[in-house]
């Protein structure tokens, strides 16, 4: 948790510093704060990933036998089904509001998602049968 506080604190301090810099820079230099903001956001995302990996390694929560790893797999599977239901409902809403082109795109993406699931399933199943 301390690592998260450090990361968020550093990001907030950096954002504040850039905001202060943006207020004192003369006209014509507006691009500098924008670049700095982008670097902070990108750095924050990379830092967040690093902190997560660090915590997983320290707490051994990413180990395949850990309960957290099994729960994460279950959560991922549940989220996938939730995503499909939400996409299908959104597609229905688009059809009802006569936005057929967007609805077609949504249902197309839905079909791709289901297709990807079956492709993964088939590859994994073949892998298990070949290994046996």
């Amino acid at each position: 948790m301390r690592a998260w506080f450090t990361l968020v604190g550093a990001a907030l301090a950096a954002l504040l510093a850039v905001w202060a810099l943006a207020n004192v820079l003369p006209a014509g230099y507006e691009v500098i704060p924008r670049i700095l903001y982008a670097i902070i956001v990108f750095g924050g995302a990379v830092g967040g990933l690093g902190v997560r990996k660090h915590n997983e390694k320290r707490n051994r929560t990413a180990d395949a036998d850990s309960v957290e790893h099994q729960i994460a797999i279950q959560a991922r599977a549940g989220s996938f089904v939730d995503g499909l239901v939400i996409a299908a409902a959104f597609g229905l809403y688009l059809v009802l509001t006569a936005q057929f082109e967007t609805a077609l795109l949504v249902y197309g993406l839905l079909c791709v998602s289901i297709g990807l699931f079956w492709a993964r399933y088939a590859i994994l199943r073949r892998g298990i049968n070949q290994a046996a």
């Binding site: 707490n59 051994r60 180990d63 395949a64 036998d65 850990s66 309960v67 957290e68 099994q70």
Partner: protein, 63 residues
């Protein structure tokens, strides 16, 4: 699934965190197994049995 992991661990005077370190899993995993809320994988069950120098069936019994 019932198990005697808690008794085995306490008999050896090992903490949950230390047992987690020895097995390469989180402390929460040890807690969950001891409470019978999480059935470990076969590989982890073998590791536990090997660590306590006993057999899997003497630690884990089906309810």
């Amino acid at each position: 699934m019932k198990n005697s992991l808690l008794a085995l661990r306490q008999a050896r005077g090992i903490s949950q965190d230390d047992l987690g370190k020895l097995l390469g899993v989180s402390r929460q995993t040890i807690i969950s197994i001891e409470k019978g809320r999480y059935a470990p994988s076969l590989a982890l069950a073998f590791k536990i049995a090997e660590l306590f120098d006993t057999s899997i069936e003497s630690i884990f019994t089906p309810e």
